[in-house]
Amino acid sequence: MAASGLWLPLLLAAALAGRAAALWPWPQYIETSEAHYAIFPHDFQFRYHSSSAAQPGCSVLDEAFQRYRDLLFSSRAWYPPEPTRKLHAPVKNSLVVLVVTPGCNQLPSLESLENYTLTINDDHCFLLSETVWGALRGLETFSQLVWRSPEGMFLINKTEIEDFPRFSHRGLLLDTSRHYLPLTTIMDTLDAMAYNKFNVFHWHLVDDSSFPYDSYTFPELTRKGSYNPATHIYTAQDVKMVIEYARLRGIRVLAEFDTPGHTLSWGPGVPGLLTPCYSGSHPSGTFGPVNPILNSTYEFMSSFFLEVSSVFPDFYLHLGGDEVDFTCWKSNPDIQNFMKEKGFGSDFKQLESYYIQTLLNIVSAYDKGYVVWQEVFDNNVKVRPDTIIQVWREEMPVHYAKEMELITKAGFRALLSAPWYLNHITYGPDWSEIYMVEPLEFKGSPQQKALVIGGEACMWGEYVDSTNLAPRLWPRAGAVAERLWSNKLVTNLDSAFKRLTEFRCELLSSLCNKLGMF
């Protein structure tokens, strides 16, 4: 990276500049000085530049202006300085925003540009970005630059920032199956994601435990598969709201419908979908993964994913494919016969591949791209070359760095999650380990490295619901956010500790004000 030579001294300078530079995640290029300007809440406004492609009426930015105004000022008591008191700092009355490319009503995508330039000097208070998404990132940074003097004045230092993400997919996984998460919890999480410049909400909607996604094609799925069909479901309206709330923050919603394993909750609503397990020569009354040998299975999947493809507008769907347990398939005589017929021998991975390939063909026909868990790659399923493989296993079958190497060597794009399972907790400041992970630390050519599109922090829900989600997630996920946004040289733990501590308190004050806590 061209700026890398400049970078370290700048970090040092910034650290000395004190609290004004408690930015998170750290920008790619920053120059800042002790000179500062005053901001008066009543006079200050966010304005569109006259030649900006986005103008008043652009929902994404109109709402963001309001949000950041509230974040900056409304939560904090402010008293105008005594009139007699001489102001030493010149005043900034507005941040002028110029967006180059039109487009306020579309959705963010994997290809969206998020770069921006922020100039705060004697002549300008100016945010320039290619797209509205970049403007959102810049507004967040701007809000982090504003600090308060001991007398309560709002101040911002003279600063020049040029910023862009290192990786384009910076995700957070929430699991709403093991425990249902109320919409307010999801939206609070989206807020905090925006503060950390995350841009993908990976929504692990359904799993063995429950099926809260309210399908209009197959309403029995939630009626029979949710924890409580009256209260513990996500209706089409709920989903729409989440997607729009996320969009306004520049966050994509990547929906996961994991099959053929992790599907026990699908069974009650769709008789015949799951494989009946056998005990000797009799069905045991229990069920295994989706039954891959029936036409009805694929007919169901066609209709179901047709719905899902239109409900979730992102180009990508996550199709799961992890942890398929073969015990039940092995026990079932119909499946054994099918294996023989197909010439699979006793290699159930081939059966798994058969299922997944058929499913992938269905989804491809709906003009969707897909993300899958690493097993799909490990088990040699034939997938489209543009498939994204998500690496989640730390050691098996190989260390995750090796897995990244193999996946990119095969020419697939990769997402890293293995070291970022935030549901795993230990005593102490484990954020530093999370932070020190380097996603490109594996053997491979530059072309291979370029195939790593980012990573995701995962918060699986076995032991997590709305009572403990937020403190378990934040600020630990912040460590992942900076790793995925900032320059790879940003690895100084002392600096990170100071900035993250400060940032945590900022998060708290905004969350608390919102939730009326403390």
Partner: protein, 524 residues
């Protein structure tokens, strides 16, 4: 003890759902004896009341019980705000009233103490149920149990089964330690913790109020301690805050034991009290850093006398916790005046003797102000001469059973905490580990076992503040709550899981953000 409570367990098994905390009574901690019948009575928000039995020694003038009646009426009927229609099945008999009778002198206006009688009996029968206790403390415990007996049937009707319960705690000291020095905890968080403690029949709040990091206790005698030693002037507990906590706790039958830990863990004291801490030396020069409290100055002891005089008046409990853990000798060793003092006293190079010298003086101060003392185990380990009755708190995990054996063999009462450091988190259901511990599982005579007063779940504050306190504490501490209250034969993990899952949801419905045990959901 026979397999009491089996009737209830069988009932629970029948009602127990797959993954959800569904309706059905789930008692936590499990009472000593529960005999229940399948005969279900309805309870309605409009008709049901809790009142004083005319024969009770506590009447409407007992504010403690009046408030408790109101509180529990709220807990019982706020379970589900959406459901309060008329009873669906008219054939069912209704329970109209719970009459509470305190038999002996009620102790309504007193503070609970280590000998407080918490036993009670409960007879639920139509149309009137009876709760009988010797003191208000038992009545409080009985009200909690009564509230746990009421559940909503599949129609949403509030229901209770006819039953007989006899209950009393296994151990008299059942505590939660909170640490307000590593992170300040707002009063609101402390009060919420006291609520949850009452739901789990805990009866001691061990308030580790100050430590190295901050001194939030606002002393009237030495205001500079918190002026200089707190994180900020808004991070202090004023006398009125402390009073609020003590009274809130009293109303729930909970003692508040303050800990002023010394001579180590006192860095924050030094900011507001000059010459209290030992100046450390680097060779011949003072290094500008400070160590434990300086044990060789008279001024130290006159300061401590005044401080503890105040503390003993502010905190009404018979006991104060004097700490005494983890004293670092390096700074003492570096200080030439301390070395001279050692020589003069004939302590040689054994700094444990100096520590003992100090701690004995502090113990004397405590007894001068008529307080019993609790100390961390080091005080015993380092052979400080202790007055009989000094309680030793065992916290070191390694060979804690042996430590218990030794402390009790020496005749001292003991409180167990070692296996119950809840700030140590790990993935999964660690509550099971806490639950399996038996505090009497050490080799010793019956007399020794009698010296085990109970235990405490400790939530140290290095990584805990108001953002994560509640879900980190509950329901993990509940496991310890049952271990300290219920009979030693209550140890079936599966049954505990089923009851605790429901109990956790009950806590959530009462406003405690207790985290889940495992996958599932709450019915509200």
């Amino acid at each position: 003890m026979g397999p009491r409570g089996l009737g209830l367990l069988a009932l629970l098994a029948a009602l127990s759902p797959r993954s959800a905390a569904a309706s059905g009574p789930a008692l936590w901690p499990l009472p000593l004896s529960v005999r229940t019948t399948p005969r279900a009575l309805h309870v309605s928000r409009e008709n049901f009341s809790v009142s004083h039995d005319p024969a009770s020694s506590a009447g409407p003038s007992c504010a403690l019980l009046q408030e408790a009646f109101r509180r529990y009426h709220g807990y019982i009927f706020n379970l589900d705000k959406s459901q309060h229609g008329p009873a669906k099945r008219n054939s069912a008999v209704e329970l109209k009233q719970l009459l509470v009778s305190v038999v002996l002198d009620s102790e309504c206006d007193l503070y609970p103490n280590v000998t407080s009688d918490e036993s009670y009996s409960l007879v639920v029968k139509a149309p009137v149920a009876f709760l009988k206790a010797n003191r208000v403390w038992g009545a409080l415990r009985g009200l909690e149990t009564f509230s746990q007996l009421i559940y909503q049937d599949s129609y949403g009707t509030f229901t209770i089964n006819e039953c007989n319960i006899i209950d009393s705690p296994r151990f008299p000291h059942r505590g939660i330690l909170i640490d307000t020095a590593r992170h300040f905890l707002p009063i609101k968080s402390i009060l919420k913790t006291l609520d949850a403690m009452a739901f789990n029949k805990f009866n001691v709040l061990h308030w580790h109020i100050v430590d190295d990091q901050s001194f939030p206790y606002q002393s009237v005698t030495f205001p500079e301690l918190s002026n200089k030693g707190s994180y900020s002037l808004s991070h202090v507990y004023t006398p009125s805050d402390v009073h609020t906590v003590i009274e809130y706790a009293r109303l729930r039958g909970i003692r508040v034991i303050p800990e002023f830990d010394s001579p180590g863990h006192t860095q924050s004291w030094g900011k507001g009290q000059k010459n209290l801490l030992t100046p450390c030396y680097n060779g011949h020069k003072q290094s500008e850093t400070f160590g434990p409290i300086n044990p060789i100055l008279n001024s130290t002891y006159s300061f401590l006398s005044q401080l503890f005089k105040e503390v003993s008046a502010v905190f009404p409990d018979q006991f104060i916790h004097l700490g005494g853990d983890e004293v670092e000798f390096k700074c003492w060793e570096s200080n030439p005046e301390i070395r001279d003092f050692m020589k003069w006293k004939g302590f040689g190079g054994d700094y444990k003797k100096l520590e003992s010298f100090y701690v004995q003086k502090v113990l004397d101060i405590a007894s001068t102000v008529n307080k019993g003392a609790i100390v961390w185990q080091e005080v015993f380990d380092d052979h400080v001469k202790l007055q009989p009755g000094t309680i030793v708190q065992v916290w070191k995990f390694q060979s804690y059973s042996e430590e218990q054996a030794q402390v009790t063999a020496a005749g001292f009462p003991v409180i167990l905490s070692a296996p119950w450091y809840l700030d140590w988190i790990s993935y999964g259901q660690d509550w099971k580990g806490y639950y399996k511990v038996d505090p009497l599982d050490f080799s010793g005579s019956p007399e020794q076992k009698k010296l085990v007063m109970g235990g405490e779940a400790c939530l140290w504050g290095e990584y805990v503040d108001a953002t994560n306190l509640t879900p980190r504490l509950w329901p993990r501490a509940s496991a310890i709550g049952e271990r300290l209250w219920s009979h030693s034969n209550v140890k079936d993990l599966e049954d505990a899981y089923n009851r605790l899952t429901v109990h956790r949801c009950r806590m959530v419905s009462r406003g405690i953000a207790a985290e889940p045990l495992y996958t599932g959901y709450c019915n509200h």
